[in-house]
Every structure is written in C-alpha cells, then in structure tokens.
Symmetry: C2
Subunit: 403 residues, 2 copies
C-alpha cells in the first residue's frame, strides 16, 4: 500500500483510525475498523429499507432520532447480528459501551455497524476484551485510514475511499468517505456500508437533508443484484465546531451538497465496479419520464434483468432484452415516443427497433463501460443509475458452501 | 420418441397436428407447429403484461375481442415479430391468411403465435409458399402431436404435453395442452407459449373465466428469471358443438376448471423444471398474507432473488437470504409472527432465526425439489409459486453471442 500517494479518510482534520482482529473471524483476519473524531460530531444517516433490520440499524436509528452527538463509528465484519432478536440489540450496545469506555465518552456517542452472516448470535462479550488493543493502535496517518478501509472489506477486491474538498469564504473544508461494497461475507448476504466524515460546521437538520439528497443519485441509484440487506447503512459525521453553522439557507450549502454528492457517487461507482464477478460497468440514463417513480421503475427493471445483465457479460448487442425489460416495468409510456440508445447508437425509435451495423455493435459491446440511454418522451423526469453485468464468477461466489 | 406410450394433444378428438420448416431458421430445423380443429372452436386467451407486445399478441387480442371462432393455431419460432411496427402486423396476418386458404376457412379464424429474435423483420412472403406442404403433412396420430410439441421447442430440452380427462353426466371429455418454456431463442428472449384444446362444449365467457382462474395458479405463478416477453401467450380452444353448452352455472363447470388447472399446472411445472440451466425445482408456498398482492410480492421477491437462487444452486442452506428477500418485498408483515420453513424444517420463528442441524441442512439441500413455506401470520391470503435455481449454465446459455 503506497500510503504517500493515497487519499485517506484521515485527510479530514481531527480523524483517526484503527483496525484489527477482535475475535469474530475464525482465521484472525481483520474484522474491525474504527473511525474516531477528536471532537464530538453531529451526524446523519440513511439506512436499508428492508423490513428486517440488523440490531445495528435499530441502534443507529435510536441515536439519530435522539439527536445524539457521535465520537466514533465501529464497523465489524463476519456476523451481521441480524435475525438475532433482543440478544442482538444487547450485543450491539455492549460493543458501543466497550468503545466508549476506551475513548472516554458515552455509549450512545458510539455508532456500531455490522456486516456478515445472518441469524448467528454475536456473543459480544467474547469481543469486548480486544477493543482496548484495537483503540490503542489508532492513528491519523494515511496508512491507518487505508488499513481501516481495507478492514471493512469482505469479498471486495479493493478498498474504497473518496476525498473531496470545498473552498468557502471561511476557508477550505474536507469531506472524506470509505465504503465496503455489495460483496458476500462467508458468503451470505450483500451489505453496503459507508462512513463519511467532514470538518464542516453544520446544523444536523441540514446535514441529514444533504445526505438524503446525495444518496439519491449515488447509493440509491446502484444495483448489483437487486437485493438489499438488513444492514445497509451510510453514516455521515460533521465535526466542525464553529458557532456560525451551515444551514439550508447558507450560500455554501449547495456547494457542500455538491461535494458530498461527489464523494457518495465515487464510492457508489466503486461498489458497482467491484460488484461480485463484474466485468462491465453499465450506466442507465433515463429521461423523459412522466414521474420520478416511473424513472426508477424503468431503471430498476433494466438494471435487475438477468437477461440484460448476461447479454452484457457475453458482449451480445441485444436491444430486444432492454426493450422487453422497459416494457414490463409498469411505467407510463408511449411506444411511438420511446427512444433507446446504447452508447450513442439509436436502437429503438418510431415504434420499432433500428438496425445497427454489426461491426459497430461488436465495438460498443467490447467496452468496459457502456451507456444505455432511455428517453421515454412523455415527461420531464430523469435519473441516472449504475449497474454491472451478471457473470459466471457471480454465480461461483454466491453458490459456494458457507460451511 | 416412443409414441405408443406417450400422451399427445391429438388425444383430444378432432385435433390434428403438423410440423416442419417454413423458412425462418437458417439451418432448416422445424420452425412451425400447426394445431388444426376439425370443427370451429370457441377460444380464450391470456397474454403477456409486457407493454411491448408482439404483432401476434395484437392479432390474437383482436380476434378474441371480436368474438371470433378458431379453426387453427400456427406457432412459428426463430423470429418474435416484435418491435417490428405495422409491417410486423401485416406479416402475422399474411401467415394467418396462408393457413386459412389451405384449410378452407377465414383468415380471422386462424391464430398465429411467434417466438424468437426481437426487432428483425419477418418478411412473411418468404414463408407462405411453404405452408401448403406443412398442412399436407397434418395427421391425428400421437407422433404428429409429439412432433408438433417438439417443433415449438427452442432451448427447451424436452417437449411439454399434458392431457387430463373429465367425466360428466354427458360423457367423458379431454383437455390436452402443449407448451414451450422460458428458453432463449438464438438466444434472445424468454417466451412462454401454450396451446390447449378441449372437446368440451362451453360458452366463450365461461371459457375465458376458467382460463384466467387456471392461469393464476399455474403460468402466472412461475418464474425462471423474472422477465416477461412481448410474446407470452396461452390459447385455449373448445371444439364441442353440443347445443347444451357449459356455463358458469353448470354443475360440471368447477370440474372443468379443476382439470384445466391440472393441465396448466403440469405444463407450468415442466417449464420451470426445464428452465435454462436449472438443477433444482423450488416450490414457494406463502400463507397468512394480509392480501393477495402481498402474497405475490413475497413470492416474487424470493423467487427472483439471485442470492436465493444461487444459494440453492450451491446447495447452501441459507435462510438469511430468504428472510432478507422477504424483508425487501414491501408486504405488510409482523416479524414476530413470521414463520419460515425449508422443506418442513423451521428456520425462522419468534422474530429470530432458529438453528438447524448441519447434517439435516445438507440433506435438505441435496434434494432436487425443495419447498420454502412462508407464513406471514397476518391474514388469510395464500398462494403457491414455482421457480428454479440460478446456475452457471443459465449464465452460459444467456451470455453467448447471437451472431
């Protein structure tokens, strides 16, 4: 790891990181990453829409709704602590209390995120004795940040970090984030986790609103296999302590949202590119929709169609599968108005498929990044989504025994 | 093909079949199957819900809404005649007229179904000269029936036929059907086609209602990959000419629906078992739903989850993936009331996963047929659905070049 040339979440002033093994994974690979703020931070979060929520999501929501400040985020991997009932809630709180004790804060100032096997008791009392060593290893070097991003990984093949800065009249501020992707753990369930920290001073309501807006066009616009886990979480911390906080009315607020969106989109695209077994990155741009719901329906149908995704894997120029997915999406449309392009080449217009030269089709499909542009032609709503292909490696990774 | 021991759609009195090559497939493999009734029949149909409809679906719907009688059904494979605009409509009618001329009826008494590549002109004028030879080969032997069922096949690995009889006060009647499954043609798009014929005398309104009811628990309760094609069609013909027709009030009507449902379920299950690359047949039984919509949402989420389907392929006993799919289905539920069983073994109850002995889990997953029973515990609605696993062969079949 060439730390000197890397970016790191520790580029955000006042952030230190730790990582190591606390006893979840049998083979003693790192299974814990800790992100610590020097000062207490306001925080925002977006979470899975799955009705099964891990104990950690319940615990994070309790802190969010209680308006708590946060000093640290602990991410553990190997056990999702989902489907574990009340004992699971106690386990999450035990870990929070363990971290709080070591860094000198309250348990409800520590956020805990889990990822891993569902339905297996966590038994946190086995883990807390190792928290002290974990926290003593914390540092603010780029290496410490990169190691924490790496410790979050499961079947991810590379750590995911993005850092953007914003210039304002008050000076320069940093937004840094890490994520783990839709990989399977030992190999049970895809979980997407992200921790983002900024040194901006901002009102918590404005922070939550900014995260919702940024997530809409990033984490909520990607699909690897259409599944959402009980654990999916994005946590955003703002550590600034200026009395003059950013609000929705501040002139810099839009700039903040823009840079936050950049961080989220960087991380979301990395998750798709590192999707299990993926060989192609596919951008689906929907325009002309009658409603935002319709735009999402179209993007969802196309991005989750196994027929579309296997065609991309096989480099098979196959507009019929895309058009069929559009047709079953249940969106309002007029076939005579519909236009579909694959990487700038029109494949459907005026109610019928249009022929594309075989050599051009072959060339388009050989690219690692492919754009599908769908203009419904019946309204002004639009959105861009990201997905990957469905490959032999995906089936291999996800069909292996857990034992 | 051991015709003597086979059942055949020609077991329905007054039905003859033909099959052969009419010029669609380049390699001169059979690409046309014809089902002829000695007498005109009343007919019913259920069709794809995809907003892109093949010209043949438009043409069939026109005949259905016009209350037409039917003498023959022509099924062609190799070209879906979808995404082909008005020229496509003309092509379908040209084939209907060609068949009508040969058997001596009106063009609107012939139904045409297509399956194959989307967006390529059919040029039916190339095909009509070969219809005469096709029709001259027609016969009412079991071999003729089996050959027609075989000519409909695309990536299907076996022909699909079911015959049931019903005993009534008026005598014995036969219901016979054939189907082609969710295979890809040359390999573009999954299409499910079925032709069912009975010698019952029945009012067309009662016939349509019976088909809707039978399809609900058969063709509309199966999923191979969650896609629906522009061509999916089920055509049901009733050739009986008794003046005393079956109506919804007739005492035999429920028996008719029951036997029709048996034929439809037989064919639907064969389609799933012959799903591309499938190695496991999975029955998903949902009970205790607050609404029929909720039952369908749950069944759809579980049966289309690539994580669930790859786990079954890998014989990985993985309740977490099923529970996560249930959780994202958007159905009304209460996690405390939910119970999930895999082949009779409880895996989720009282709000948490329940442990299953490793040896038992291995035994369950090694079976070719697996039952997932989901009791939502919040209502009285129920339904049973059928799906298959997602395998390397599925990816292989669907990622190959079309060229």
């Amino acid at each position: 790891m060439d730390a000197s040339s890397s970016i790191s979440i520790t580029d955000v002033p006042g952030v230190s990181c730790a990582s190591g093994w606390i006893g979840i994974k049998r083979d003693e690979r790192p299974d814990a990453a800790l992100f610590i703020c020097d000062h207490e931070a306001v925080f925002a979060g977006v979470f899975t829409t799955n009705q099964f929520r891990s104990a950690c999501v319940e615990s994070s929501l309790m802190r969010l709704h209680g308006g708590k400040r946060v000093r640290a985020v602990l991410v553990t991997s190997g056990n999702a602590n989902a489907g574990t009932g009340l004992a699971g809630r106690a386990d999450t709180e035990l870990l929070a209390a363990g971290v709080a004790k070591e860094i000198g804060c309250q348990a409800d100032e520590v956020i805990v995120l889990h990822t891993g096997v569902i339905g297996v008791p966590l038994h946190a009392e086995r883990l807390t004795p190792r928290l002290s060593a974990l926290i003593q290893s914390a540092g603010s070097s780029r290496v410490a940040g990169m190691e924490a991003a790496t410790a979050m990984m499961t079947t991810d093949t590379f750590p995911k970090t993005s850092v953007h800065t914003m210039q304002t009249a008050k000076g320069s501020f940093v937004i840094g984030g890490v994520a783990k992707g839709a990989g399977m753990i030992h190999p049970r369930l895809a979980t997407m986790l992200s921790v983002i920290i900024t040194n901006v001073s901002i009102h918590p309501v404005a922070l939550q609103k900014a995260l919702h807006q940024a997530a809409k066009t990033s984490f909520n616009a990607i699909s690897v296999d259409g599944d959402t886990s009980p654990n999916d979480s994005v946590i955003l911390l703002a550590t600034g302590h200026d009395e003059d906080v950013l609000t929705e009315e501040s002139p810099e607020y839009e700039v903040f949202i823009e840079e936050l969106t950049n961080v989220c989109q960087d991380l979301a695209k990395m998750i798709v590119k590192d999707g299990e077994g993926a060989t192609k990155f596919i951008e689906i741009a929907v325009t002309g929709g009658a409603s935002d719901d319709d735009v999402e329906r179209i993007a969802h149908a196309v991005s989750t169609s196994t027929l579309v995704k296997t065609a991309f894997y096989g480099e098979d120029f196959n507009p019929g599968r895309i058009i069929s997915a559009i047709g079953r999406a249940g969106a309002h449309m007029d076939i005579e108005q519909l236009q579909v392009k694959i990487s700038e080449h029109m494949v459907f217009a005026d109610g019928a498929c249009t022929p594309v030269d075989e050599q051009i089709a072959k060339e388009v499909m050989s690219q690692a990044e492919i754009m599908v542009a769908i203009n419904l032609g019946v309204g002004d709503c639009a959105g861009t989504y990201f997905t990957c292909d469905l490959t032999h490696d995906y089936v291999q990774i996800n069909s292996e025994y857990t034992t």
